[in-house]
Symmetry: C3
Subunit: 320 residues, 3 copies
């Protein structure tokens, strides 16, 4: 594996989940694989779970890890080509990526969208340039449009906690005070649609009208504008805010009733509740739900280690 930026980089979805659970059962079994191999984690945006879980995964595999918070410790990168660099950007992504590729065997890269120009964000220009110029295998630590390590961990969590062979999984939009990227819901949908296509689950998306995700990430998903109908008989409820794809980057106000509460969950099959974190308590999800027995949010975060470790293991095996 040379690139992990989407579910499309996974050939065998079920097999990958099985691999992850094998890693989880015996975390240090492949410790010689990473000996003298270096993982570089490059962040242009803040991170808690991704930084720590990916670092932990690499250490489990015996790798060295170097973390670079380019937004804090480095300097402004130029990402456009053909620009005369006489302004405030100090280094071009071409050189920065190439240099980091010289020091690291595998790189991870995080860069959020600007949420101003949809074409720009959805072209994934920055992430793709980093991949192109680094010259080594690259893992997305969340790009402008996708967050595959999160979604892989979500699928692992669903497989571990399902009580029926083919559970009903509902992705529901949730309120928020800020304009957030679509990366997590795009990515979750992409992975769930693939899992649905492979007969692993049924997938429904619910959100206020106008908040439709990009169609390329929702093939086969059932879209419901009525949250109550969508939640009927759900086994898993995945709550997440996102800003508009159509009216790009705009937030929806006055939709506080979309918050997931115990009352709302009564319509489900005692559904397990998921969220990628960080979560706004009593705004996206009620505190009672987060602190209650149905919440999977901490287990879900814990599974970030095993999604990362599975991808890193596959990449290490592919190194010469």
């Amino acid at each position: 594996m040379k690139l992990f930026s989407s579910v499309n980089d996974i050939s065998d979805l079920k097999g990958s989940v099985e691999q992850a659970l094998i890693q989880k059962a015996d975390p240090f079994a492949n410790q010689s694989l990473g000996k003298n191999k270096t993982l570089g984690l490059v962040f242009l945006n803040p991170s808690l779970r991704t930084r720590l879980s990916t670092q932990k995964a690499a250490l489990n595999l015996g790798m060295n890890v170097m973390v670079m918070n380019l937004d804090k410790e480095g300097w402004a990168l130029e990402t456009e080509d053909g620009v005369v660099m006489n302004g405030t950007t100090v280094e071009h992504i071409r050189e920065a990526a190439a240099v980091m590729g010289q020091y690291c065997d595998i790189l991870g890269f995080r860069s959020f969208p600007k949420l101003q120009d949809r074409e720009e964000d959805y072209s994934e220009g920055l992430f793709n340039k980093f991949v192109k110029f680094s010259g080594v295998p690259v893992i997305s630590l969340e790009s402008a449009t996708l967050h595959p390590l999160q979604s892989f961990a979500d699928l692992i969590t669903i497989e571990e906690n399902k009580r029926t062979a083919k559970p009903k999984v509902v992705l529901t939009w949730a309120p928020h005070v800020k304009s957030l990227p679509q990366a997590v819901p795009n990515s979750f949908s992409e992975w769930m649609c693939r899992a649905q296509a492979e007969g692993m689950l049924d997938f429904v998306i619910t959100h206020p009208e106008g908040l439709e995700l990009a169609e390329k990430f929702t093939p086969g998903a059932k879209i419901e504008y009525d949250q109550d109908s969508a939640l009927q008989g759900a086994d898993f409820v995945y709550a997440k805010n996102w800003s508009s794809y159509r009216d790009y980057g705009k937030t929806v106000q006055g939709a506080e009733s979309w918050m997931i509460t115990h009352k709302k969950l009564e319509q489900t099959k005692v559904a397990k509740v998921m969220h990628c974190l960080p979560v706004r308590r009593d705004f996206e999800l009620s505190a009672e739900v987060l602190d209650g027995p149905h919440s999977l949010v901490i287990k879900e975060a814990a599974n970030r280690v095993w999604s990362a470790q599975t991808i890193l293991k596959n990449m290490l095996e592919g190194l010469k």
Copy 2:
């Protein structure tokens, strides 16, 4: 050991000092103990000594270390319960602590007091929440009211450098330009009072009237308002500024004469001088003292490794 936040978490004080000196004499003897164990160090406030010495201690024990500067690399944490998170805080301490507990076998946590509301600071609400929700053993890297790794290192330093069986130790308030927490003097007093109770030393505190520390941390200590009297016959002089506990957080101005100088030390038994660092030269302690033969400040900082390593070793032994 599941928690290290106070001298009260130590059952055998003399034995702990002996353990520390054994670690110091042979730092790498327990290197297999920490294999595949991860220490997470979480800082909500800046750190130099604590970060490096605790990291070094963990490496000596064969552990992996992940450092998280939440104030710089992360985001604003919500610490209150029952709050609708529609403001600027991005994640609740409940989730943040629980998630870090999933990735780390032992956690260290630093959070300074706000010095605005005494009840709030002295309840140690934030530190206690972190402990409660992390679900793993926690070491205080300095909390609102205590700094036990520092005080343990101070006691080690006194034991190493004492010239009589029962030395006289004097904690003296020193001038400063800022309003500082009481954590270091509270903690030093707590440890010295315990050591005094065990017959290891005699302990005196001296400060301007009105700067009394919280009584719970000074059981058995002799309080002297006259610095010259207090210094008579001292073997160790520990200088440190603190703001008022009574008139909470207020500084005392115009007390520059409390600075420790060679002249002042003439009244002592050629006392050794200690300070936790960072120190304001020629304001808390004179440069001549800091650079002279009586200063223990660098040796004291060096001993931070052995207090941390002793605590980490005990915690590692307690892990299943």
Copy 3:
């Protein structure tokens, strides 16, 4: 080796290049040398290449590495002696350096010049104090006036890529929008003059009149004010901006024609082009040159690992 801050700390220049190439050919051959040894990297200014390459070098040698971004994670250091510290500086370099020396076997230190007072910058007071008070071997990670790990990597790169026994190396000033230190050109010149004295190459410096480097770093170098003449027959062209040494810290405006382009390189012997990075594209060097077959900039950055590893190896061998 106890100090690496200049080419003068190298006794055998050719032998050091050979050592570096041996490290490069077999990076992990000396992994037991660094076992249980700790490298501390202290940055008062941002770093990408230096941080990662030096960290990688240390890991290759089996060392532990602790990185301290004092400008971001720490606090303001006092560097003057005899100052009453009643202002904004929190800790004196005397204590900070001494403490870090207690936790680390070898230290690296980076501090840029202020470019305001030439005497102050060229005295290297801050770097020298750090060396003096740390008490352990110190590597310059770029000081006010020199950047020896870069220059050593540059010499390695020239040796690897030369097509004649005694290549012509040209250091050319290049335009920039900011006022930059003289550290990289001083250092490059210092190393090239030494290499020239040992018969390894011919060295020419070209820049607009008035931008002469300090003479102590240019012994034996040929100075040419006409860039075209200087480039005649060059085998290596090293482009770099610097601010004025004479009119200290001043930039030169309106010299955009000094940018290195394909057109300019026609006068050379198909010269290889070097730059320490970060580089301002289409302002210092044209994009066509950076992306073309003559550029060595990425290989040069990669060689930073081997200059650092060679120095670290020598320092480790000198530890008791």
